[in-house]
């Protein structure tokens, strides 16, 4: 029964990593998304460059880059922190594009109306644009968060311990100690656990999309 | 009145969507070469009537007869045959946007009627010529104005050699200046003896082109007669009221 304990520990670590990545990438993603709609071309280019770079690179490569290059630059990070940084870079780039799309889908007449009322640019963004854009981007952002949760499993490639790694450990332990092959069953269980976490999110995303349409 | 067997007979047609009753027992005949214009307030069931005849809506009760009192069988298997005989032109043209004008015209004759390209091509070319769209044969629908698309939609329906063509508010979606082009094409067809049933809001055109006018309200035919009778001496109060508002 110790096997379940290993898997449970792994699941907790997967959830922890997911939640921290979700919080970070939402904050950065919204910020970069807003920057992409900026009137100042420098801000816009920096933000676009960020999203192009981290959306263009395979997430596997981003994880390796963070994990191997930060220490060489004198910043000591463990696997967990590296995974958090790498996944957040990738996911925030994806989220920023959804945010930009939602902001740009708001009719320019809304901005004109706000200006006519004397609202500042920042106030227009805060009180008029973002609340409307928020509703529109929610379905796709939830979809991206589900992707993020699934992709945390890649962190095992840079040595992080999570649900998938725990499954590997459990399988190896049973094979060595008891000589039984249980890989099929354990990986099936892992699939089911991920499905239970992600399926409600995709249902929620679809429901919101329908509501908007 | 043309004195022969009717081409199309509608008997006691009923249609409802759930509790909403759209057609409440419609009866009339369409004779060969006749041009019938159906007028009436919106929601009176005019469009639904055409869609029922073409089998796009299922009929809840009543019958439609084509050619010498053959009852039309609206089961899915025979619908294809029905539609080859009854053409339809829509308000929104509904050209296939991924096909050129000529491909739009050729699709059904080649694939449904299995006619040879050698036979259909000259006919399609002639029809495009007739509606004044021959030089657009290789264009895509999105490159054309609404009026041009609608004239092509009419040609697409004609190339099937249907016995009757139904026109469902074909000018309602057009810019006012394009309406005339489409109406002219329809007038040409009427002059050539095409049997047509037209739902329209264009009263001037209705007067000009029709052999018989049918006024519908609340899913029933209120009054029908020659354009003179209906437009100059309507008998029913509802017809008078409608015409007063529409003219």
């Amino acid at each position: 029964m110790a096997g379940y304990q290993i898997l449970l520990d792994g699941l907790v670590r997967t959830l922890l990593l997911s939640v921290s990545c979700i919080i970070i990438s939402l904050c950065i993603g919204v910020l970069i998304g807003i920057m992409q709609t900026s009137k100042q071309s420098v801000i816009r280019s920096v933000a676009k460059g960020y999203s192009e770079l981290f959306r263009g690179l395979p997430i596997v490569i981003t994880l390796f880059l963070v994990f191997f290059i930060l220490p060489e630059a004198g910043i000591e990070v463990n696997s967990y922190i590296s995974a958090m940084i790498g996944l957040s870079l990738w996911s925030s780039a994806n989220i920023s594009v959804a945010v930009r799309g939602a902001i740009q889908s708001i009719s320019p007449t809304q901005v004109e109306a706000s200006m006519a009322l004397g609202l500042s640019g920042l106030q227009t963004m805060r009180y008029v644009i973002l609340p409307q854009a928020f509703r529109r981007m929610l379905p796709s952002v939830i979809g991206l968060l589900s992707n993020l949760i699934q992709t945390t499993s890649l962190s095992i490639l840079i040595g992080n311990l999570d649900l998938l790694k725990s499954a590997q450990i459990l399988i190896e332990r049973v094979e060595i100690m008891e000589g039984g092959a249980i890989a099929f069953q354990v990986y099936s269980l892992v699939l089911i656990v991920y499905f239970i976490i992600c399926y409600p999110l995709s249902l929620l995303s679809r429901k919101m999309e329908k509501k908007l349409a | 009145m043309v004195n022969t067997q009717p081409k199309l007979s509608i008997r006691n047609l009923h249609k409802h969507f759930g509790d909403l009753r759209i057609l409440n027992g419609v009866n009339f005949d369409v004779f060969p070469k006749e041009v019938i214009v159906v007028i009436g307030p919106s929601g009176s069931g005019k469009s639904t009537l055409l869609r029922c005849i073409n089998g796009l809506e299922t009929i809840n009760d009543g019958e439609v007869y084509l050619d010498n009192n053959q009852k039309i069988d609206y089961t899915p298997s025979s619908l294809q045959k029905v539609r080859q005989k009854i053409g339809m032109v829509f308000q929104s043209y509904n050209l296939f946007p991924h096909m050129t004008v000529m491909e739009n015209l050729l699709l059904a004759p080649l694939k449904v009627q299995k006619r040879s390209k050698n036979e259909v091509l000259p006919r399609a070319t002639a029809l495009l010529e007739q509606v004044g769209m021959l030089e657009k044969a290789e264009s895509y629908p999105a490159q054309l104005s609404g009026g041009q698309q609608q004239r092509i939609a009419i040609a697409r329906s004609l190339v099937m050699n249907p016995e009757v063509i139904l026109f469902d508010e074909v000018t309602s979606a057009l810019d006012p200046e394009r309406v005339r082009d489409v109406l002219d094409v329809m007038k040409d067809l009427a002059a050539q003896g095409t049997t047509m049933m037209i739902v329209t809001h264009e009263m001037g055109f209705a007067k000009e082109v029709s052999d018989r006018v049918i006024f519908m309200d609340q899913g029933l035919i209120v009054e029908q007669g020659s354009p003179e009778e209906i437009f100059n001496n309507p008998k029913e109060e509802r017809t008078k009221q409608f015409l007063k508002n529409a003219m």
Partner: protein, 243 residues
């Protein structure tokens, strides 16, 4: 610390050799995803009984579970029940299944976007269900959804790097292998990153050319491709009849 450029040039042929396998796996996966996607979308649009539900289950399961777990399940899990597949086969298989599930959704949004009134127009011309699928829903749906599918295809190229986890000698694996020998972390990782960005950039360019080719409005005054215009036109030519 400066970059050792001569080392980067030295390992370039090695990385490009790995890139060959990356491209080959990706191309195969894109091809099979396309097949799965179109077939699945037709089955779902036509609401074929049983099959349609099976496609739905397939799409939901694949989209809501991690690709890496699919890889491990096929590579490490299947041998338990007596099925052993070579790593490259597992790579192509998992990517095709994963891409296929996303492609079903891509194409279904396209086939669904073929408006009811266009289908009616086909019906009123006497086209059969099969003919409507073949001449209207598939060609039009494919054109509408190709931009969405090209995103899936680009993801497949990037995600081929997942196969480094089961030892498929594609570019990422070659790079990691080299790093273990030479410890030239900066040089190798930056080279690989640049090559990936270039490949993705070229692939995006090719897909956008195909999109333009597929766009039946391309001849419109030589203007570039725009998704907005396409959907506008679909909407315009497909507006439903009122009253």
């Amino acid at each position: 610390m400066g970059l050792d450029f001569s080392y980067m040039i030295e390992i370039l042929p090695l990385l490009l050799d790995g890139l060959k396998l990356t491209i080959w796996i990706s191309a195969a996966a894109i091809f099979f995803s396309l097949l799965i996607g179109i077939t699945g979308a037709i089955v779902r649009t036509l609401k074929v009984p049983v099959l349609s539900q099976l496609v739905t289950v397939f799409v939901e399961v694949i989209r809501n579970t991690p690709l890496l777990v699919h890889v491990f399940f096929l590579y490490f899990g299947l041998p338990t029940i007596g099925i052993t597949l070579p790593a490259v086969t597992v790579g192509i298989l998992t990517l095709s299944i994963w891409g296929g599930a996303y492609a079903v959704e891509n194409f279904r949004s396209g086939t669904d976007a073929v408006s009811k009134s266009l289908i009616e127009s086909g019906q009123s011309l006497g086209l059969s269900v099969g003919q409507i699928v073949r001449y209207i829903i598939v060609p039009l749906g494919f054109r509408i959804s190709f931009p969405a599918f090209s995103n899936t295809a680009i993801s497949l190229i990037k995600n081929s790097a997942y196969m480094t986890s089961i030892g498929v000698a594609e570019m990422t694996f070659v790079a990691m292998d080299r790093m273990a020998y030479d410890f030239k972390t900066y040089e190798i990782l930056i080279s690989v990153a640049v090559i990936y960005l270039a490949v993705i950039w070229i692939a995006s360019f090719i897909f956008s050319r195909i999109e333009r080719k597929l766009d039946f409005n391309k001849k419109l005054k030589g203007r570039g491709y725009s998704r907005g215009r396409l959907s506008n036109i679909i909407r315009r030519t497909g507006e439903n009849t009122a009253s």
